[in-house]
Amino acid sequence: MADRHSSRRSFLKTGGLLAGMSALPSPLRAAVESAADNPSTTRTYAYPNAGRIAIVHHPNAVLGFNNVDQQAVQYMFDQGIMQLAGIFTSPAAALASFFPGLSTTKRIAIKPNFLNSVVPTRKELMKAVLNRLTQMLGGFPASNITIYERHTFSSVGYTTSYFGHNVNLVYDASFPNLGYTIHCNGKNRPYSASLHNADYLINMPVLKDHSCGSDLNLTLAFKNHMGTVNPGGSLGIHCDKKAILDIMASSVMTSKQTLVILDALYAVYNGGPGGNPQATPQKILLSQDPVAIDAQGRILINNLRTSNGLGSKNATYIDQAAAAPYSLGIADPALMQVISVALPVDLVAFTATQERGMVVLRWRTESESNNAGFVIERSIDGHTEWMDVGFVASAGNSTQLREYRFEDSAAPLRERRSLFYRLRQVDHDGGTEHSSVVEVALQLDEAAWNMEQNYPNPFVHDTDIPLFLPRDAHVHLDLFDSAGRHVRNISSASMPAGMHYMHVAARDLPSGTYRARATVEGRVQEIQLIHTR
């Protein structure tokens, strides 16, 4: 499996921009700001992919007080989860990769935070996550998803009608002792029945500071579980550092918590956890490592505090969580692999794909004013010798999403391995602004068509085989069992250029190892599929 993952990501790295962008809403400006040499290989941590974190920023996600652009947030989540997973076939496929052994009978719990109903885990972000969760495996049942919190849902707009998914909204505040507990700081404390009944957990905290002393003065991924575990009573553990470290280190958490999504659309950086929004970072942070999430959250909070003349929050629990004996994750930003995903102002998508002998550029704007149009620039290396290859006039002032398209039919497709494009937005008064740069990895020869590893794999009932065609072609795709017997034909048809997902329904097939063999333009590729029950 590891080799296959490596192979898959290698293809995506070289040709993925081309392949992925033909099917997805946009590419993005994703930069690895700092990266250790895979720190998790040199030290063992309690949570997987320690230190790997995606930070997504959208300049127009927050429109005002209690006013968030659902479409922008969906876009942020989709881009972030694909970047974090390194899987670009679809956001749902990327998301599914964080749930090992996932099947449609498994149950997922989600812990948001709306202690402060003015600055809660935004319903728009929750909806974005639910939209993709329910697309996993070709249709993960919403009824297997439970959102639990010990504060009322209605005050923050959490309803199944808003979400459009019939998920379970559980007001989980009583914490009866039903025989399952988490041991924290010398006490066995009951925890949420919703989590107990789930196979996986998504932790969705909010960017807020806290008034708990100096060791625990942020309320992020760790503190959010004061609500998973009963924090109250005469021996309350609300501000008990040892307790929250023990909770995150518990086998319940390390075995179930597979993803942390920090909602940093709004922020409270002073006087939290209550109070009104004090800033709009317009970010979401995604990681499997709760320590990395809280460490990056600490940076965000302290940057806000510093710029407002306030001292830094120590939140020493983060550093203690990274150190032995806890070793839960990585707190040192220098050791993290930070994937920064950002978009230029107003330009919400900019993609470039090779299609039928030309490069097609597509972009969208969220709003335009005083915009004369866009000059399209091309470079062979992305750094020098940018040349103007076309101009697209603005459609006029707008506050609505606008779609643009440009075909570069003169692109030197046969001369380069890749080409680079950027937009130069020109104002009516002559001002200009450049977009980020997108790269088109060119498919140069007949070997350019490619079949990727199926997803999911292993699979229970259904799976999809991604297949990329650089041009129209006849695709012959067959399935064989481990003995080499022909099981069925999946496709024998002419198909247009682009990315295709060949669906394989195998409910009627016995468990075992199968091979899918694709023949396109006389060349054969095979992959191995594992069917389980």
Binding site: M226, G236, C239, G274, G275, N308, G309
Partner: protein
């Protein structure tokens, strides 16, 4: 007779502490005085109505934790006795539906209330001294979408916020603050 006299003295002392307590807002027993009596009543401040279901009261740390979770430590570390809160809805500069929240904390002593006010985790950024302040120890600040005020009067620490960034919102906060402060002697 003796019992009735002692009861009257206790009541008088309570009213000295919570001056202006209006018995009409004290539930079925008009002689019971609680911290909720300092909260402005329905339309006591013209144009501002109580939002139903938003009042809470806490008389011990556990009850306070149930309301504000770990945010309670700021108060329970410094002599917390009891607290009450209420939200109101009204207009600011012709914009209706603006909410204003008040939280009143009895910290047992003025010294404790001052400590809460000055706690490093409770510092106001760019604090403004309000015009017509409710007490000698009062600050107001503007946040992204709101104004917040804190003040100390006697053993009470009071926190008010209004969800409007309009400059006129700080006038509303000052009216609320002075109303509350006027009931605390």
């Amino acid at each position: 007779m003796l019992f009735r006299t002692i009861s009257s003295i206790v009541l008088m002392l309570a009213c000295v502490t919570l001056a202006g307590c209006d018995k009409s807002d004290s539930g079925s027993n008009p002689d019971v005085l609680t911290i909720t009596d300092v909260l402005p009543k329905e339309n006591e401040i013209s144009g501002w109505a109580r939002i139903s279901g938003t009042q809470w009261k806490a008389t011990n740390p556990s009850e306070l934790q149930a309301q504000i979770n770990g945010g309670s430590e700021l108060y329970t570390n410094h002599g917390f006795v009891e607290a009450a809160a209420q939200s109101y809805s009204g207009s600011v500069n012709a914009v209706s539906g603006v909410s204003c929240d008040i939280q009143v904390y009895d910290q047992g002593s003025e010294s404790n209330a001052n400590t809460v006010f000055d706690d490093p985790n409770n510092v106001f950024v760019n604090p403004i001294t309000p015009a017509n302040p409710p007490s000698a120890k009062a600050q107001i600040r503007k946040d992204l979408f709101s104004w917040t005020m804190k003040f100390v009067k006697g053993r009470y620490y009071v926190l008010l916020s209004i969800l409007s960034s309009d400059d006129k919102a700080q006038d509303v906060l000052t009216v609320f603050a002075n109303n509350v402060a006027g009931k605390i002697k």
